[in-house]
């Protein structure tokens, strides 16, 4: 009834191949984009609830956007190409630290010649940093040609721990600060310095929108289909003429690129100053959770999963206080653990394919409503 594509005729190939072929989807997308790009800044400008104060923007929306981006990155790899990875944190860290290096200037004195790059503006630094991440992604993707499934997952932990160590030990990456913690330089984009929360939010939003659309576009094309074929059965895909080397490594590269961007944003926009601990194994698990709970192989799911995993503990944490229940912080945070764990298990039981699946079931229902079938 509400979600019916009857009567929407495609009269050209272009219309048939659009990213969002159904009108309702297009409208929904525009509504969401309008809300994100126009309504949120307006609400913030007028200090309308809940945007009075910066809490929602700084502590919820910005990390939500960045982690969604990371989840999209991992979803490309795990959801679309079927390569389980527990190294997301490492690729985010590579993005963050490389961006930092490009921002503050690279100087590598070699024996024959010296590589010297002057400090670059933030935007090219982020993209170059993400490229470095993609490069390392390819490197650590090579074992995936031989190792599969959970074994591969544990192998990607090698990347995680190795880079944890590299960024702590190699002083060059942190510009030889005494503590090994680094602070992000000012965020200058085309002569404009991003400082206020709303500007930071918009900055993240631009990145996330672009990469989400790119990813959405990519996964329905040739390469996306190669990934999915590889995911569903790699031997069969190989027999059909899909080169596993190309399919898997391209997924690793793209996914690491996106995660690199997310890492740079996490460090530069959200944290401001960071140490390798900000990208440790917990981060990798968090992002994997977002992808699984949101739905493997769904861009929308990445957003839903990120929202759930990020917001749930924060909400649970504040519920007792808001209700005025006198419980100690200790009990609350332990309860948050238990409840989060229980909800995750419950969600996996009722819908192992995540929110994205719930969403498509919902769409199915809306299509038929008010009739049961």
């Amino acid at each position: 009834m509400f979600y019916r594509e009857t009567g929407q005729f495609k009269s050209s190939y272009a219309a048939d191949m659009a990213i969002f072929p159904i009108r309702q989807d297009r409208i929904a997308l525009w509504v969401v984009l309008a809300a994100a790009f126009v309504a949120v800044p307006l609400l913030d400008f007028f200090q309308v609830w809940p945007f009075g104060g910066e809490y929602i923007l700084r502590a919820i929306l910005i990390p939500f956007l960045i982690l969604s981006l990371a989840a999209i990155g991992l979803n490309i790899l795990t959801g679309y190409c079927g390569q389980l990875s527990l190294g997301s944190g490492a690729f985010m860290a590579i993005g963050a630290y490389s961006t930092y290096k490009f921002c503050t200037g690279v100087h590598i004195p070699l024996e024959l010649f010296t590589i010297s790059i002057p400090p670059l503006p933030v935007l090219p630094s982020i993209l170059l940093g993400a490229l470095m991440s993609a490069f390392v992604g390819i490197l650590f993707g090579i074992p995936s040609l031989r190792i599969k499934g959970l074994y591969l997952a544990v192998a990607t932990l090698a990347a995680q721990f190795f880079f944890d160590w590299v960024f702590i030990r190699v002083k060059w990456f942190t510009n030889y600060t005494s503590s090994g913690s680094v602070a992000a330089p000012d965020l200058v984009f085309f002569g404009f310095t991003v400082t206020t929360p709303i500007h930071r939010y918009l900055l993240c939003l631009v990145f996330v929108s672009i990469f989400a659309l790119l990813a959405k576009n990519l996964v329905r094309g040739n390469i996306g289909r190669q990934w999915m074929a590889t995911r569903d059965m790699d031997i069969a895909a190989e027999l059909m003429g899909i080169r596993p080397l190309y399919a898997k490594l391209s997924a690793f590269a793209l996914s690491s690129f996106v995660m690199g961007v997310a890492g740079a944003l996490w460090a530069f926009v959200y944290l401001g100053a960071w140490e390798p601990l900000a990208f440790n194994i917990d981060r990798s698990f968090q992002i994997l959770f977002m992808v699984i709970i949101g739905g493997l192989g769904s861009i929308l799911g990445s957003f839903l999963g990120a929202a759930f995993i990020l917001v749930l503990p924060i909400l649970l944490d504040q519920v007792p206080h808001a209700l005025g229940v006198p419980v100690s912080v200790e009990t609350v945070s332990l309860l948050v653990f238990v409840v989060t764990g229980a909800l995750i298990c419950w969600l996996l039981i009722v819908e192992p394919r995540g929110f994205a699946r719930l969403w498509s079931t919902g769409k199915e229902k809306l299509r038929l409503w008010p009739y049961p079938y």
């Binding site: 959200y270 944290l271 944490d317």
Partner: protein
């Protein structure tokens, strides 16, 4: 379009109506507490958080707050995770009538992240005995207060104590001192100061990292067994400390040649190792464990009324450190009130209070902290206020103070502070304040 504007206007009105009662609040000072009562570092986080909370309760119960302004506080659990700490900070910074007075994150990682945010929000960070050592330089770090001592102070004092045990500074020559440290910004902080000291005094310095969380240190201690350093400095946190002591015992390294930093010198660090900890030494952030006059008040006004959150950690090292942390913060607020009047202070006013905080010996005695801490005076330039520390030793049951106060050698440390602060200022393009011009 007009309807949209109207609707927005109505919404905005509604929102202001909703926030109105929050503004018209009574005479209350909001103080946030970032704590970690769960997770890997909980054994150390709990007593500190208890001390912080109990001192505030004491002020409310005994004096009715600070100069009549009642303290309201809220804890937020960080689990020692930086991103959670940032979320907590954002959550708590705007609460209460004037927003958060100050923050004490008790985590080097969170301190680093908040250092970037605090100037924008105008909330001071009171990082007593941890955080960036160069934040002593108030001209570059106007919002950071590393009161009482930095890791560089600690490193310097540790070396001085070693020299004293050896019988003079000149005896340090060609001695071997190894640092076993938590492989994180926290553990790496002292290296710079120790290297500078090694150059001056001619001892051989070696840094041995232990990966977080420090449950596995066998190879590090086997290396120490082979290398036989004359002293081992321990810069650990949480489980790493007790594990280090046990491994030291296993390889037969004498515990009385080990000196821990003040974060490696509390009860949860030594009790798990049992008798093996006997003889182990640690620096004191001036204070140690034990009961002083303030504890009598605490027992009278807080514990006996069942309002204490502490259990068996009462008067332990980290509990006392929590008390001290709260005392510094509230005294800063009291100082600020002298200038701005007896009402809730904003972060900016508390910062003024911190910079003008002058805790004389008499004032400390009045507060009941005599014997725990010496005089501290902060200023615009000096955000540390004291450069002294003592050494304590675990006798198997309790910590015993075994030394007098050492004063860190500022001729070595101050240039380091200057250099690091200048580097930070250059990197972040901070215009350095001219403290001579500020009142």
């Amino acid at each position: 379009m007009r309807r949209l504007t109207l609707a927005l206007g109505a919404l905005a009105l509604g929102a202001t109506a909703m926030t109105e009662p929050a503004l018209a609040q009574q005479n209350e000072q909001f103080l946030p507490a970032l704590v970690y009562r769960t997770g890997p570092y909980a054994p150390n986080g709990i007593p500190f958080a208890d001390g912080v909370a109990d001192y505030w309760t004491l002020l409310n119960e005994r004096d009715g707050g600070i100069n009549g302004v009642k303290i309201i506080s809220e804890e937020c659990e960080t689990g020692y995770a930086t991103d959670k700490g940032v979320e907590c900070y954002e959550r708590l910074k705007g609460k209460g009538p004037t927003g958060a007075g100050y923050f004490s994150p008790l985590s080097t990682g969170i301190t680093f992240a908040l250092t970037e945010k605090a100037p924008g929000d105008k909330i001071p960070l009171l990082t007593m005995g941890y955080g960036r050592s160069e934040s002593k330089d108030g001209a570059v770090f106007p919002w950071n207060f590393i009161a009482v001592g930095s890791y560089w102070t600690a490193a310097d004092v540790a070396i001085q104590h070693i020299a004293k045990e050896l019988g003079g500074m000149d005896k340090l020559k060609d001695k071997k001192v190894s640092l076993v440290y938590h492989d994180s910004p926290y553990g790496k902080e002292p290296i710079m100061a120790l290297e500078a000291r090694a150059k001056v005094n001619g001892f051989v310095f070696k840094a041995i990292p232990v990966t977080h969380p420090g449950v596995e240190q066998k190879s590090q201690w086997l290396a120490i067994r082979q290398d036989r350093p004359d002293y081992v400095l321990l810069w650990g946190w949480g489980v790493m400390n007790s594990t280090a002591i046990k491994e030291a015992a296993a390889v037969g390294y004498p515990r009385d040649k080990m000196i821990g930093v003040w974060w490696s010198g509390a009860e949860p660090d030594v009790t798990p190792a049992g008798d093996q900890s006997t003889g182990y030494k640690a620096l004191m952030l001036q204070h140690g464990a034990g009961k002083f006059k303030v504890h009598a008040d605490l027992e009278k006004f807080v514990v006996s009324k069942g309002k204490s959150v502490a259990k068996d950690d009462f008067a332990q090292v980290l509990y006392n450190r929590g008390l001290l942390n709260s005392m510094l913060g509230t005294e800063a607020i009291r100082t600020a009130m002298k200038k701005y009047g007896n009402k809730p202070m904003t972060g900016e006013q508390v910062r003024w209070g911190l910079e003008n905080l002058n805790l004389t010996a008499e004032r400390i005695k009045e507060l009941g902290f005599e014997g725990m801490v010496g005089p501290i005076q902060l200023s615009c330039q000096d955000h540390q206020g004291a450069d002294i520390a003592r050494v304590q030793q675990w006798d198997g049951k309790e910590w015993k103070v075994i030394s007098g106060n050492y004063k860190a050698d500022l001729s070595i440390l101050d240039p380091l502070v200057k250099e690091a602060a200048a580097k930070y200022a250059a990197e972040k393009k901070i215009t350095v304040r001219d403290c001579a011009k500020e009142s």
